[in-house]
Symmetry: D2
Subunit: 349 residues, 4 copies
Amino acid sequence: MIDKNKIPVGIVGATGSVGQKFIELLQDHPWFQITALGASERSAGKLYKHAANWFQEAPIPTRIANMVVSECKPGLPCKLVFSGLDAAVAGPIEEAFAEAGYIVISNAKNHRMLDNVPLLVPDVNPDHLTLIDDQKSKGKIVTNPNCSTTGLVVALKPLQDAFGIDKVSVVTMQALSGAGYPGVSSLDVIDNMIPYIGGEEEKMQIETLKILGQKKGNKVDFADLTLSASCNRVPVMNGHMESVSVKLKSKVKKVDVLKAWQDYTSEPQKLDLPFAPKPPIYYFDDPRFPQPRLHRDLGKGMAVSIGRLRDCTVLDYKFTVLSHNTVRGAAGGAILNAELLVKKGYYED
Amino acid sequence: MIDKNKIPVGIVGATGSVGQKFIELLQDHPWFQITALGASERSAGKLYKHAANWFQEAPIPTRIANMVVSECKPGLPCKLVFSGLDAAVAGPIEEAFAEAGYIVISNAKNHRMLDNVPLLVPDVNPDHLTLIDDQKSKGKIVTNPNCSTTGLVVALKPLQDAFGIDKVSVVTMQALSGAGYPGVSSLDVIDNMIPYIGGEEEKMQIETLKILGQKKGNKVDFADLTLSASCNRVPVMNGHMESVSVKLKSKVKKVDVLKAWQDYTSEPQKLDLPFAPKPPIYYFDDPRFPQPRLHRDLGKGMAVSIGRLRDCTVLDYKFTVLSHNTVRGAAGGAILNAELLVKKGYYED
Amino acid sequence: MIDKNKIPVGIVGATGSVGQKFIELLQDHPWFQITALGASERSAGKLYKHAANWFQEAPIPTRIANMVVSECKPGLPCKLVFSGLDAAVAGPIEEAFAEAGYIVISNAKNHRMLDNVPLLVPDVNPDHLTLIDDQKSKGKIVTNPNCSTTGLVVALKPLQDAFGIDKVSVVTMQALSGAGYPGVSSLDVIDNMIPYIGGEEEKMQIETLKILGQKKGNKVDFADLTLSASCNRVPVMNGHMESVSVKLKSKVKKVDVLKAWQDYTSEPQKLDLPFAPKPPIYYFDDPRFPQPRLHRDLGKGMAVSIGRLRDCTVLDYKFTVLSHNTVRGAAGGAILNAELLVKKGYYED
Amino acid sequence: MIDKNKIPVGIVGATGSVGQKFIELLQDHPWFQITALGASERSAGKLYKHAANWFQEAPIPTRIANMVVSECKPGLPCKLVFSGLDAAVAGPIEEAFAEAGYIVISNAKNHRMLDNVPLLVPDVNPDHLTLIDDQKSKGKIVTNPNCSTTGLVVALKPLQDAFGIDKVSVVTMQALSGAGYPGVSSLDVIDNMIPYIGGEEEKMQIETLKILGQKKGNKVDFADLTLSASCNRVPVMNGHMESVSVKLKSKVKKVDVLKAWQDYTSEPQKLDLPFAPKPPIYYFDDPRFPQPRLHRDLGKGMAVSIGRLRDCTVLDYKFTVLSHNTVRGAAGGAILNAELLVKKGYYED
């Protein structure tokens, strides 16, 4: 059942919600094949089906269900690991793997802001990947941003390239799955919403600047734009919605903004990476769209949907952005990172 | 059962969702007593309990249930009518009542922007009431703003008074009841939200300027601030949430902003109007608050709740506002308007 | 773009919620290809994308989006039509098509209980198909049952075959999509449920007896079991859940009941019909399962899920049944009917 | 602020979800006044407002907010304690209080089925109270049943008295608050429901028999009826719905059943207990009713609502029952128990 032509990969944090999503998305991946599952001591030694409280809609892939879970320590039969670890434990574990020579594709926040760690969205800043050349360890760590940042930077990048961006004001309406499982109590969000997600606004405000920054030598010059984020939790399962206003650096027409999104294509599409959405951006003319339930799965959950472009009386333009938080904004984004890294020759047998 | 000491009032549009809320809120009102119910031809002649598809949580008050519904034409046994009519029909009906000498307390948008019609929020612009002196009809029309405008202007007024306001950027997350009944299909909002409410952004952007404007002679000089609104519908029953950013006209400290809200008291409290919330504004230190289900009913649904005051990197300050859309933002707000009008001597037996 | 090797089919009631589901499910069907779309006069003449308020999660298939909608009258370029018409109009329209020589695969209730019309669930009563030999019209009408009946009869059939069934008590918890679009108002089901669905209990109680009945000559001898149904609407998008109790005609062990379901395979599987789920029934050992969101899509929405088999102190056994109401219980079930009919030679070019 | 004329009472498990409900409901109680709050070691010594994660809709009563929390040990300044303790710890704590002379009004399951402990619903089996005469401890323990049992027995009691009951089949659709806080993850019940609540069916099946049983000497002869329960969790905040079928011991007309409910009045109404709902039962003619959001608060959450009485083809009659699970089915029911006990002279200063 093991395909010798595929790259063996491990998943650490395999029983958690991001770990489960890695498993779901990597099933039938054309390049990668899961050969190791790492989780906490409590789970180690058990069959995955007994260790995980699986709550994805599709059943556990049979081969995975019957794999034995290992501890999250170097020694796994692979050279590339996806990390869906919680930030509380991700730091030292990911570092241990990197020291031991593994490529670590991490979804955790711990190493995102280090100078020599790429905070990577392949559609936006693929050139940042080479920051890892500066990592001293035998292995490497690559990270993807916070789920609410990803959709935003994909929507902003074409505008930055074409017109320059001065200011961004964004209010998010984020899905429940972003809080993990069990996450938000049903008693807190039936007929209700919560105007606060701890640490989220800070993450959006700083990560966006790094991702949209310019690589200069071994470092990223952060983008010189100002961003203000207000983050809300709404009773939606999956799909983060964002009401965005931007002030551009040049005076442009609405039609030019639309064209910037429409024409946008980037490295993952050019390299024909398996997880690259084609097109990367959908724009909707119907003012009721995009909506989470209807459009979060476009491009297999990897596309970013935009709608309602209109004048803003305070900044220049307003629009709505939607992206799938656990696919585009977490496991799927990390897989795209791994694909870019492999295509660029960083993975060696 | 009729109390001779109370002012007889009618409700036109009595079977609709705002009409039902008028009935619910006017039950046991110390000054007003419902003596007439007007609805469409189809309902006229029926007992109210047979004409209305009542869907409030409390049952129909018994006396009201057995009243016969009239058509929406002058001739009702009262001199003051509350209008919960749909905008599609409210225009000529409200005018006919005003011509016939009735005081019309309207929740409809039709006459809001006319020079001699007060767009009234008694906590904010009670002095605008005298605009009606310029109405030529025997009766008068007074209006209250759109449900998403009301909470916002109550939160902004103390800041305008104390510091001046330059710019406002607001993103709303509005409740389902704002769309009336049956309104939004359940298939559109289970595990979903809608980034669009037709006409809502335009209403917020213009109404706010009139309400916060200065009365000069017989007209209102609109406030010289810029407001940008983005309106979203979320799966919450009642209670509009708003993420607000403001740029003030003077440099102030966070503590000054808090103090402006804390110290705020206005005409309805001074006049001790029955529907005046005391205090008019609640500020929450807990960053998770306010939340719709927990705080929409504060002050019997008439208070405005604010939380999460913090720096904004694009404008000056950001905060969250909540108000009950069908009470504070519709029927309750209209009742407070009627109370002010009576207290100011505009109602004569 | 038209594939000459496929059977051309029409959809009447194509803009409604069942019509949309037919379009979604027939896309890429190996045997059928949509060549005609019929809807009301109001829609006729328009492009489908302009006539329909499409609200499925996947976008309208491009070819369908640009087809011109016809009226629901014979003359459509096909010989087989799927009817997603509302019961209010389905009667005469379906009859007109049958008179004109069309095979009508109907989801409407109008003709279900006629002696010579099969009320068909191919996994349960495929032999009833030949009832149409008795239809006098040039064309034929075949019907599928009410959405809440379908899941139940698939679960009951293996028990009836193996042990005989004496009594059934069923309480349903039905999804919102069963009421069509816009259907149930969001104000009626957020933080709420409704213990009533007009006509539903009567349909379940009689349809089940016909489907589980024995064909004797040209008629069906209704099954001699007693069924009591209580139908509730719950705030779930798709997937009808049913709490079922049965009294069997013979004394059996729990393990025998499980085996009856496990071993069950029926005509659609034997004939390898494209929409036949394999297996037709999933049984879950985990007492928390099945659940609508997790399991409604098993077998592409055509499988029936069962769980929680346990002793009943009033009848013999209790269990939980789940089936997808708009796929298995409506459009998908009708497509399976058409497949059986074609396989059995009733369709001629 | 302490009212010397009221009976001082304590609440153990005061920070939990039932404890919070006790506090909310006892505010302004005419007989009782909270003088002690007990919780876990972790909370002891803190102000209640700092110890509790309060999530009720009304704010914490000011006096309570500033009370210091004690440990759950005898020594509290009161002689009567309400127990909202979790079953995992309730056993020994409640016994310690009873040993020390306290009257314990418990909502926990631990002592419900003991011979000398009344499982009390004052509208149903007030005479069972005297079972406590047999308790050897200086103090006494009285319990109320599981939240899903309470509504059912109130609906059944008038039928048992009038006609005798032979069999009951009940399927519940239970609210989320029944699982406590945080309880059910939002990811498990948005667009979903769960057909299983651990231990619930067993509790309903046995508790009902004790409550409807006859006191004979010092014991209860369990009712000789058979009950089968199937318990489901649905996405509703508060209010348990139940689809019930009954077989009566005598042949009766529908009108007689209705009359039995209508005429029903019981001990709490006769004794004019403060928490006694008047009437105890509401019957709705509208087949869409009762519904949780609309009717759970009738009689301040203490009334039981019934609707849809109709023939059952398997047993005799079917109907729908609704009761508020955290009020009638938990804290409110316990308070009614305490009121009965005081009225009957079991409380001494």
